[in-house]
């Protein structure tokens, strides 16, 4: 039975979304993404080098936009205006591509999202026809507001971007998931495979990560581990875990027929 991730009317087999930053080179980026099985990959929009080596390889040579769903982000934007401007450029760059990742940061030390600016940007982008996946705080009220604005997915942080601290507030994530009618994905903070599995076991529709793979000692192996973790977590969620029981221990082997 197929269990597909659906975002903005498009379906995906993989529930692992990955970033393309912080790798040694483009070849490693490509190998890690292949190992992760990701179909959606995030990219940043930056000024092109002018007057430098012509014919220099680019990310797009290694990751052709025809093969993947690009998710241009607004990393590094600290205001709604900059984020909107960046994504309009991204849309032009990617031939009218509508699916985007909105993130508006609050300060350079924590990279914590500025939700006031994020909400302002989300309103403009949704009105402008974008399909907005939005990086946000793990505040259930904010998440609901972003859904009401018309975002196509909310992506609360597990912990700070690049921190690898794992899921710090599973309870908030659970409230967000229970109240949401759009996909909830954990974005940021995943450190290792068990973190990704926990996010999926909580009922997240997917996980987005970059540093956990790129900064591993062996990024390609970690990409494979993350793929399995997301699949395992999803299966565990769908299977429905047994209830936790503190005292009523129950042996798995029959208590009858013991030798005496």
């Amino acid at each position: 039975m197929s269990d597909l991730l659906k975002i903005a009317d498009k379906t995906y087999h993989s529930r692992l979304l990955v970033g393309t930053g912080k790798y040694q080179d483009f070849a490693q980026t490509r190998a890690a993404i292949d190992a992760s099985g990701a179909e959606i990959i995030t990219v940043a929009i930056r000024r092109t080098n002018i007057g430098q080596t012509a014919g220099e390889p680019s990310l797009l040579d290694y990751l052709p936009p025809e093969e993947f769903t690009y998710l241009p982000n607004t990393a590094g934007c600290y205001s709604a205006d900059d984020a909107v401007r960046t994504l309009r450029l991204a849309r032009e760059l990617l031939d009218g591509h509508k699916l985007v990742k909105l993130e508006v940061l609050g300060d350079p030390n924590t990279l914590y999202p500025n939700m006031i600016e994020t909400i302002a940007a989300a309103k403009v982008l949704v009105k402008d026809g974008f399909d907005v996946m939005v990086y946000c705080s793990d505040d259930p009220i904010i998440a609901k507001q972003l859904e009401d604005i018309g975002c196509c997915a909310v992506m609360p942080l597990a912990s700070l971007i690049g921190s690898g601290m794992g899921i710090l507030n599973p309870w908030n994530l659970q409230i967000i998931i229970e109240n949401a009618n759009i996909p909830v994905l954990v974005d940021a903070g995943v450190g290792t495979a068990s973190d990704a599995a926990i996010a999926m076991e909580l009922g997240c529709q997917g996980v987005l990560m970059n540093t956990a793979i790129a900064a591993a000692r062996d990024p390609i192996r970690m990409a494979g581990a993350m793929k399995k973790a997301v699949e395992a977590g999803r299966d565990a969620y769908l299977a429905g875990r047994m209830p936790k029981k503190l005292y009523s221990a129950s042996p798995s082997s029959p208590s009858a027929g013991l030798i005496s």
């Binding site: 000024r47 990393a75 450029l89």
Partner: protein, 67 residues
């Protein structure tokens, strides 16, 4: 004329030329990029007919690795 490209001033001999011409002169032909002139996006289909004039501020961007 002088225009600002990605925050840096650049001088050109001609008094005016098209965005398409600019891309050629910067060796950016065939690259996937998006251009903003004075805060407004210049669609790719209009590169040939969009004329640049002295003082224009341009942003030329592409996709790079990011999370």
């Amino acid at each position: 004329m002088q225009v600002t490209i990605n925050g840096k001033p650049r001088s050109f001999d001609a008094a005016s030329f098209s965005v398409a011409h600019l891309i050629t002169s910067l060796n950016l032909e065939g690259k996937r990029l998006a251009i903003e002139c004075n805060g407004e996006i210049v669609p790719r289909s209009q590169f040939a007919e969009t004329q640049l004039v002295d003082g224009d501020k341009l942003e030329i961007v592409g996709a790079v690795g990011g999370g």
